[in-house]
């Protein structure tokens, strides 16, 4: 087992190198000078030369790359050329928004998807099955931005004034503010990485409110997350339901299931104890792939629901040619995604002993 994990870890090194190279060079072939994008048309050549020198942009590209990787190795992701804020600070602000959103999207999608898949498979071709699968097909076909806008239209506009009304944008109702964890805990003077970590979790509003018992804030933040989470979670929900159904049906057709039935086990016991564990492998694979898709979907969801998360930060900084921010975010996202896939691969080995032995 540990040999498998070590080998799998070693395999991530070339992929990691590839990510760094691709992100760096992709963001450096973006046309247009950063200087002119920031200072505007009035920038003189001399001003731009100073600007480039200040930000190390006059160095050869390979030298910039070496500097970048060296900084990265020390946990320095560079600074925004536009606002001079360190990328790390931006990450601490923005990443929790996206993580929180994705978490609730998955919380909505995974249990419901697996449940619907199981029900569909165990009552194959029943009206329940047909309706669920038609719904799943529809679910993967409605674009996130259309679904999001429709949800906002129904719940924020048509249902205005009813108890079902939900807020269409932002993270908290204007006027409400959340107390940062460092303040709640009296740690305002704290510095360094620990402070960053605490600030990071502090920006996951529902988590912060939950552990510091700010109930009004918790409910408000949660209500703001319902529509975006449904918009973002619907496609994974539909995909997971379909995969669970087909994978369970495959397993239910195997000989050992017939044996279990022949022993006189109930349908419920056969599905729960014999079929389900073996049918989860493809579901885990899809889960891993969906995490990547979630990050793409987050760009759209954050745009529609006016959440300042990673997705929006990336598309905004691409537009303003803020290379450092784009690089920092994309590298962090890609590395995070890579580790999700690593975790998926390792969980295979737990789920299926045959993979361990290869």
């Amino acid at each position: 087992m540990s040999r498998y994990i070590i080998r799998r870890l070693l395999l991530t090194i070339p992929v990691l190198a590839g990510i760094l190279i691709l992100v760096f060079f992709l963001s450096h072939i973006l046309p247009g000078s950063q200087c002119r994008a920031l200072i505007g048309e009035r920038a003189t050549d001399a001003m731009c030369a100073d600007f480039d020198h200040l930000h190390g942009l006059d160095l050869p590209v390979y030298q910039q790359f070496v500097n970048y990787v060296a900084g990265l190795a020390q946990g320095d992701l560079g600074a925004s050329v536009k606002t001079s804020q360190p990328v790390t600070t931006l990450l601490i602000e923005r990443l929790p928004v996206t993580i929180e959103l994705s978490f609730y999207a998955l919380l909505f999608a995974v249990p419901l998807g697996v449940l619907l898949g199981i029900v569909s498979a165990s009552r194959r071709n029943s009206s329940m099955d047909v309706v669920t699968m038609a719904g799943a097909n529809l679910g993967v076909s409605v674009p996130i931005f259309v679904l999001g806008l429709m949800l906002a239209f129904v719940f924020s506009y048509l249902l205005k004034g009813t108890v079902l009304w939900l807020p269409p944008s932002g993270r908290l109702t204007p006027g409400l503010t959340i107390t940062p964890l460092v303040v709640s805990w009296g740690l305002e003077d704290l510095k360094g990485p620990l402070r960053n970590i605490i600030d990071f979790f502090s920006n996951i509003y529902t988590f912060n409110a939950l552990i510091t018992a700010q109930w009004v804030i918790f409910v408000d933040a949660f209500r703001h997350l319902i529509l975006p989470a449904i918009a973002l979670g619907t496609i994974p929900l539909a995909i997971i339901a379909r995969i669970t159904r087909s994978s369970l049906l495959d397993v239910l057709g195997l000989d050992y299931i017939r044996t279990a039935r022949a022993k006189g086990l109930s349908d419920k016991a056969v599905v729960r104890h014999h079929a389900l564990p073996n049918s989860m492998l493809p579901v885990v694979t899809i889960f891993g792939l969906q995490v990547g898709a979630l990050l793409g979907g987050a760009v759209l969801t954050e745009t529609i629901f006016n959440l300042s998360g990673v997705g929006r930060a990336v598309s905004e900084s691409i537009a303003s040619r803020d290379y450092a921010v784009v690089q920092g975010f994309v590298v962090v996202i890609a590395i995070g995604y890579m580790f999700v896939n690593l975790a998926v691969d390792i969980s295979y080995a737990f789920l299926d002993p045959r993979i361990r032995l290869q």
Binding site: P14, L30, S141, P143, G296, V330
Partner: protein, 317 residues
């Protein structure tokens, strides 16, 4: 069942038997999955309908999609709601089936003409991705060794990035236009087709009939294009049909963000994006293109699913 051969040939015998078994099952399984067959038929019906709309777009609309109707149609106002006299709309207002957009253009005409754009986008994008993916997969699968390794690791790196984010960076690098959005979505999809092609090449290239062709002096090119490729085409068709659904969605998403189709082109994603600020005051500008877009994607998804179940029961997902 063929008698087992000696040595390496033994595996070939088993694989061949497997192929025979698969072929004999195709029609039986096709017949069995009546529900999924219905899916494919419904999908084809939807797509046929959309193709007709796209082809006859000019005949079934009154105004061109880009025409500003101020002064052309008396009483035309910006962002006017749908108005059909037969459904109780006052006779003194001009009729618009889906209302007008903020630039006083006929929304119905724009939605109808959008079908042309989206169908073209779907086929062109996936066609591009399949061509390159197939080539990469063929070379990797047929050559093997380090060539295989280099190509497939490059594909892995492409796959590491969340597709839409990678597409956004590519579009920004190339400039914002519909064709660049298609290119970006196409590039992002290449690894899918490369992997599928490689997998089927690997499974086909050691079979008896390929060995026999080689023994008869068939050139490498002949082997690849006449013997191996035709046998890899089925999974590519299935993945491609589903891929069109994804491509239509993703290009529309890029256009929604302002990175794809540029105004005044009648493209559903960009129409929704430009008018999303009027969601509460003019919801028809979101609802109609939204339905059209969802219907298109739904059609391709149904057809792709139906095809997959009919052609390849072992990929039964």
């Amino acid at each position: 069942m063929t008698a087992p051969y000696q040595g390496a040939g033994r595996e070939v015998g088993v694989e061949e038997a497997e192929l025979v078994r698969r072929q004999s099952n195709i029609w039986r399984d096709t017949g069995r999955n009546v529900v999924h067959q219905r899916n494919a038929i419904v999908g084809l019906f939807i797509l046929g309908f959309l193709v007709l709309i796209a082809v006859f777009a000019d005949q079934i609309t009154i105004y061109p999609p880009d025409q500003v109707l101020i002064g052309v149609v008396p009483g035309a106002r910006p962002a006017a709601p749908p108005c059909v006299h037969a459904f109780g709309c006052p006779e003194d207002k001009p009729q618009f089936l889906m209302g007008t957009d903020p630039n006083v253009r006929d929304e119905y005409s724009r939605v109808v003409h959008g079908a042309r754009v989206s169908l073209f986008v779907g086929f062109a994008t996936v066609g591009f991705a399949i061509m390159l993916g197939m080539l990469a997969g063929l070379v990797a699968g047929y050559a093997g060794g380090w060539g295989d390794n280099v190509i497939m690791r490059a594909m892995d790196i492409l796959l590491v990035f969340p597709a839409l984010l990678l597409a956004i960076s590519i579009v920004t690098a190339l400039g914002q236009s519909l064709i660049n959005a298609q290119l970006a979505i196409g590039i992002v999809a290449i690894p899918i087709y490369a992997r599928i092609t490689r997998a089927s090449v690997l499974s086909v290239k050691e079979t008896d009939f390929v060995t026999a062709s080689r023994a008869l002096g068939e050139s490498s090119r002949g082997l690849i294009f006449r013997r191996i490729l035709p046998n890899s085409i089925t999974p590519l068709i299935v993945a491609g049909t589903l891929g069109i659904a994804g491509a239509v969605l993703d290009v529309a998403a890029l256009s929604f963000l302002g990175l794809g189709a540029q105004p005044p082109l009648a493209e559903w994603g960009s129409m929704i994006g430009l008018d999303s600020g009027r969601l509460f005051s003019a919801p028809w500008l979101i609802i109609f293109p939204g339905i059209a877009l969802s219907l298109t994607v739904f059609g391709f998804n149904l057809l792709g699913d139906g095809l997959r179940d009919a052609l390849d029961p072992r990929l039964n997902r």
